[in-house]
Amino acid sequence: MSTDLAVEKSKTAKAAAQQPSLLRRIIQRPETSIVLVLLTLSLVLSQSSSAFLTSDNIFNILRNNADIAIAALGVTMVILAGGIDLSIGSTMAFSGLIAAMAVSLGGTTAYQLPSFGLPPAIAFALGVLAGATVGLVNGLLVVRLKIVPFIATLGMLGVVRGLVVGLTSGQTVRNFPIEFVALGQGYIGPVPTPVIFLLILAIIVAIFLSYHVWGTYVYAIGGNETSALLTGLPVDRVKLLTYVLSGALAGVGGVLVVARLGVSAPTQALGYELFVIASAVIGGVSLSGGRGTVLGAVLGAILIGVLNNALVLLRVESYWQQAFTGSIILLSALIDRLRQRRT
């Protein structure tokens, strides 16, 4: 279904004539551009550094960006339903903190936050629950109090980050049992655990969006909310759900970061909302709602990871790194424009 949605209105009229060719259908997919950018970048990188195309490096990139990609899954749903979630970064930090306090064995310093030494699975669940709770509040602000999503989630960005800093007074939480840390640092075969998480969650979300009734509702609401309302769809509940899921997935990402880094710091994921949203948008998710796919969002997150990798492998001077990243974002947007013109 999502394919059809993604294709632009004025361009599909010709489809009236006959089924478009396979090539055309590939070009029409919103993820095509980002795949192209990724492939080109990878080609350049593998030419200029033998270190790039090693499974080690690839998994390294994936592990380091799996959490952003997981958060991007959630925000993709929110954006598809016509909303936005700016509180992602704060939610990641908050969930991470809750899980960290739950699982921590207690520190060895005089400056100690409460720690409960709960089993990792429970800590994980609590972290995700904390994220989902933030999402629920976001959703209620938008759905019940009818605050525009940008402002509602901007406010929550502040409130939740403030909560994290306030609760910790700037302290870090650490000293976790290895079973917890393994969630972020472990491997299953050659594949890092966070990547496994990403894979499973991405498949679940993709199936949800394509095959679950509410997945179609998400696209319908993002496409035209008034219509969806007058069709008798449970608009408010679906929107609420997207925020809750976004919070929960940011929560998963946040807990995985803590597990991977072995520490929860109040600055964690500061400003990540921009990366996460950019991942989705670069991956072809339309900010006005109703159009885009999970695959695109994940690829968008991977592109950002590859870029960070490239900065180092290509020896971009540190001072110029941001300019480089910015340029690639613009470049991929340009390529997307060219693709759209082709069709």
Partner: protein
């Protein structure tokens, strides 16, 4: 530069112990950012001292390092006419007008950790960043003495942050002429997660790196297992000199994965510096424009244990 005579009346009385009458003195202590754990140690130091002296210390700083915001918050504190301020300046010039406004309003100001040398502040309490970084570089040169491979990389936080730039500059001033080969300086935006990613990427690009200078401890905050490449490289002989003496770093040093730590006097930023300002306000003592705290150097497990003990007990007063 004697403080103007606006000191509150009770301060004029010859009491060094808690001022019992009326309103106690209120100092504002301002870190560069409140989301940074090292400043929390300073805060505890300040509060410990405040309790001893029977005064109030308010901790007012921007959420994250931002000179403009810090100046704005301090302006509001001036409006409240507090009795003194101690500031870790996000930028020397950006904080200068505020410091001058405070002094003109009769509020004595000292700086700590980070100075504003051209302002009217009374004194500056800190280590000498550049001297410490130079010492770090000397240690690195020494560590790589017998290694024919003299490549090293630098990790920094937000590119352009004053203190970090000073450390990097001083380090390279010593290291490069001594024959070390600089490879790259990578920024991590003061972000632990990004720091880990950057270090791993750097070691992918330069697997045979001989040395690493970390101008801040970001990736070392985390679990060392989050950086398999770093861990492997350190075990294979890569030498690491890093800033700060945080608990985690000290443990890494004991494990032999980090080889020298340069310590700032976090606790003193609060404890000692509040004492200095109290002396100035109440006891009318004179201080020179710069009070050097010196810095701590940790190179051996034994030295590390000393500082781990301090973290454990919270007792930094030797």
């Amino acid at each position: 530069a004697a403080p103007p005579p606006a000191a509150p009346p009770q301060a004029a009385q010859p009491t060094t112990a808690p001022a019992t009458e009326k309103k106690p003195l209120t100092f504002v202590w301002s870190p560069k950012a409140v989301n940074n754990p090292v400043f929390d140690v300073a805060r505890r130091g300040a509060q410990d001292k405040a309790k001893e002296l029977g005064i109030t210390v308010e901790w007012i700083g921007p959420e994250s390092a931002d000179a403009q915001k810090q100046a704005e918050l301090l302006d509001a504190a001036i409006a409240r006419k507090v009795d003194g301020m101690g500031i870790s300046c996000n930028d020397p010039d950006a904080l200068k007008p505020v410091i001058d406004r405070a002094m003109d309003a009769g509020i004595p100001v000292i700086t700590w950790d980070s100075d504003s040398p051209n302002s009217k502040r009374i004194t500056f309490y800190s280590l000498d960043n550049e001297a410490a970084a130079r010492k770090g570089a000397e240690i690195m040169v020494e560590l790589l003495k017998d290694n024919p491979n003299k490549t090293y990389a630098i990790l920094t936080g937000v590119p352009g942050a004053q203190n970090l730039e000073a450390r990097i500059r001083a380090f390279r001033e010593v290291a490069d002429p001594a024959g070390l080969k600089w490879v790259a300086t990578d920024p991590c935006n003061d972000d632990i997660q990004k720091g880990i990613e950057v270090v791993e990427n750097r070691l992918t690009a330069n697997p045979d790196l001989a040395g690493y200078f970390m101008a801040g401890a970001w990736p070392l905050f985390g679990d060392i297992n989050a950086m398999p490449k770093f861990q492997a490289a350190a075990k294979a002989g890569m030498k690491v000199v890093a800033w700060d003496i945080l608990e985690n770093e000290l443990k890494l040093l004991k494990e032999g994965l980090v080889h020298a730590l340069i310590g700032q006097k976090f606790y003193g930023w609060g404890y000692d510096a509040v004492g200095i300002l109290y002396d100035i306000v109440v006891n009318k003592k004179q201080y020179p424009p710069f009070v050097d705290t010196g810095f701590d150097l940790v190179r051996t497990p034994e030295e590390a244990d000393v500082f781990l003990k301090k973290w454990e007990t919270g007792n930094w007063r030797d």
